[in-house]
């Protein structure tokens, strides 16, 4: 799976997105790559641009409010930025699908769940109503919906949050997509249900061979499900690489802080004996630092950090970090002081 010539399922090349009325690009030259069958976790605090990136990939950003100002979104090598609305509609829910954070409100309250799943099937496949319904039932069984056949005619309000998220997954996977985008799919769920849903998603991805872009702020979820990780801060990817490399050898001060903020993982970060916090908050677009966007909160900051956007360096093959101070080990003595 390491060969470079495999066409990535999804590749973002230096994508920038600007919202109308904002002075800087909210998403600033973000590059990501997901190969078939792999799961990439996009990690970061709320407001760092994870969801915007995923919505832009799906072509779901309101066109009036946000524009892609730079870069390419390549889906199996085709640039989605050039696609027309009609072409994107034909892709969405078909070859690329998405599940959302809020299972409670993501299903239409006035239609049965069976109809809502069947609708996705009928939209993209040339099939009869009965065939679509049969496919919906098949999907309900696949997502391990208890008493699946009886559930087809239920309305969303008759289901628990976990069940609704299963419906969302069934809907997303109904047309065997090559790419699944999951935007915080377990955040709104109970911890026990979270584990079930994650396990289900992992199994289904293994079965279908689909690639997944998982958006989350929960590093526990990342450890559970991801192959690769990209850490986002204030609209930029600050560090990316295989999950083991990021967890065992975080190289960006922000990643380090993020890991230190996680109780269960704090012990694994060198030099962090107690729970760390990152001082300050994410800069607002009107006051973005000129160089590194993390400079305002970074314990290792120096005057060079404000000079220019830090270029990405590869610490080990596949593990990239956008920090001029990397590798960080050399600075620990000063940083801790």
């Amino acid at each position: 799976m390491t060969s470079e010539d495999v066409i990535p399922t999804l590749e973002l090349r230096e994508v920038s997105i600007r919202f109308r009325s904002q002075p800087v690009d909210l998403i600033d030259r973000v590059s990501l790559s997901i190969r078939p069958g792999r799961t990439l976790a996009l990690v970061g605090e709320s407001g760092c641009g994870k969801s915007v990136t995923s919505l832009a990939t799906m072509g779901l950003l309101p066109r009036k409010a946000a524009t892609v100002t730079h870069g390419q979104v390549l889906f199996r090598g085709e640039n989605l930025i050039d696609k027309t609305t009609t072409q994107m509609e034909a892709l969405r829910g078909n070859r690329m699908a998405m599940i959302f954070q809020e299972p409670m409100t993501s299903l239409n309250p006035v239609f049965t769940i069976g109809d809502q799943v069947a609708e996705a099937v009928r939209r993209h496949r040339n099939c009869t109503k009965a065939e679509a319904r049969a496919r919906a039932l098949e999907m309900f069984e696949l997502v391990r919906m208890p008493a699946a056949a009886k559930r087809l005619d239920d309305y969303p309000h008759q289901l628990s949050g976990g069940m609704r998220q299963r419906v969302m997954i069934a809907m997303a996977l109904a047309n065997d997509p090559e790419l699944l985008i999951a935007d915080e799919p377990t955040t709104a769920l109970d911890v026990t249900i979270q584990a079930q849903i994650l396990e289900l998603m992992r199994d289904l991805l293994k079965e279908t061979g689909a690639a997944m872009l998982m958006i989350t702020h929960d590093l526990g979820v990342v450890a559970e499900i991801a192959d690769d990780v990209a850490v986002m801060y204030a609209g930029r990817v600050v560090e990316s690489g295989p999950v083991d490399a990021i967890f065992n050898d975080p190289q960006h001060p922000y990643t380090l802080g993020l890991m230190g903020s996680m109780p269960a993982l704090a012990g694994r970060v060198q030099g962090a004996s107690r729970l760390m916090t990152i001082p300050g908050s994410v800069p607002v677009p009107e006051a973005m630092p000129p160089g590194c966007r993390f400079a305002t909160r970074c314990p290792f900051v120096s005057s060079e950090c404000d000079a220019a956007r830090p270029s990405e360096r590869e610490v080990v093959p596949g593990h990239r970090v956008a920090c001029i101070k990397a590798p960080l080990e050399t600075h620990f003595a000063q940083g801790a002081a």
Binding site: L60, E89, A90, R92, T105, S106, N108, V110, F111, Y155
Partner: protein, 315 residues
């Protein structure tokens, strides 16, 4: 579902009884003794006593109410003092007129107001949105009588397209009936269309932000389907309740509009009755209108539940 309908009907009964008590008391609260009027100039005590006995005026008030209610339930609303005709008969003459006007006005209001509201929400912030809002505001601001007179001047007097006034039963001459009712319906429907447009717009704007609309788009549904099917079905719910209230109000008749177009409906009838102190007629019209209002709202509640599965859960 059947249980819900039964419950709602049972709840409507006390409301109807309250209305009937109010209408009955209306007659009792009026100054003057109708028996003295009936007894004539001589005011012969024996005649008065006989009349009191005949009209059960000596019975307790509650018994009088029950006798009256019994009559009403048998369809007897009394005799009009002015015309000497049974009130029930008068109402049955006017009811189809008012009903036709109400239905046509409502259709006009819905056909114009709801699509305009949807379009305005979908194209929020564009020229079309501003245009629709401007027209709606104008529709709300223009007084009915002025609009009516202007329409008559333009359409009837200058262009000669439609009759300026009068009424024809749809059973006798449907085309002529439609023609005579068209302008009054537009006059009455304009303000309603404007209100419906504003409400549909805000309802749609709310729904278009909903997560399930985003889900529908993520499924790859065409924008038309997303709006018509996923968004509109949800936005429709509050509109139903509003339309029911509007229709109920139309049933009371429209005094000014009926006067301008000389339509023999409830509005004209009740004004005439009040001026003539024809209390039996006033009572009858109020009773029928209030009942109609309650029934329409009952139907709207049932329709609301049929369209909203979340409500069915608590039945």
């Amino acid at each position: 579902m059947l249980r819900y309908i039964t419950n709602r009907v049972l709840v409507a009964i006390p409301t109807l009884l309250l209305v009937s008590i109010f209408v009955f008391m209306l007659q009792k609260l009026l100054p003057g003794d109708p028996i003295l009027v009936l007894a004539g100039e001589n005011r012969d005590p024996e005649t008065i006593a006989m009349l009191r006995e005949l009209y059960r005026m000596n019975d307790p008030l509650i018994m009088q109410y029950l006798y009256w209610l019994g009559d009403v339930l048998r369809g007897n609303l009394g005799i009009s003092l002015r015309t000497g005709l049974p009130v029930t008969e008068l109402i049955l003459q006017k009811l189809p007129v008012t009903l036709q006007l109400a239905v046509m006005s409502m259709i006009f209001a819905i056909v114009i107001g709801v699509p305009a509201g949807v379009m305005s929400a979908v194209k929020k912030g564009t020229f079309w949105d501003y245009l629709a809002n401007f027209i709606a505001l104008s529709g709300l601001s223009v007084p009915n009588f002025w609009l009516g007179i202007m329409l008559i001047l333009l359409v009837s007097v200058n262009l000669g397209w439609l009759p300026a006034s009068g009424y024809e039963s749809p059973w006798v001459d449907p085309v002529r009936s439609f023609q005579t009712m068209l302008m009054p319906s537009i006059v009455l429907g304009t303000a309603l269309a404007a209100t419906l447009m504003r409400h549909t717009r805000s309802s749609m704007l709310g729904v278009l932000q909903a997560d399930y609309v985003r889900t529908a788009r993520a499924k790859g549904l065409r924008e038309k389907t997303v709006i018509r099917y996923h968004a509109f079905r949800n936005a429709l719910l509050p509109i139903i309740t509003l339309s029911a209230v509007m229709f109920g109000e139309l049933l009371a008749g429209a005094v000014l509009t009926e006067q301008i177009f000389t339509i023999p409906g409830f509005g004209k009838m009740i004004v005439d009755a009040v001026f003539n102190r024809d209390y039996a007629v006033v009572q009858g019209v109020v009773l029928v209108t209030a009942t109609g209002f309650i029934v329409i709202n009952l139907l709207a509640d049932i329709l609301y539940v049929l369209l909203n599965p979340r409500m069915r859960a608590n039945l």
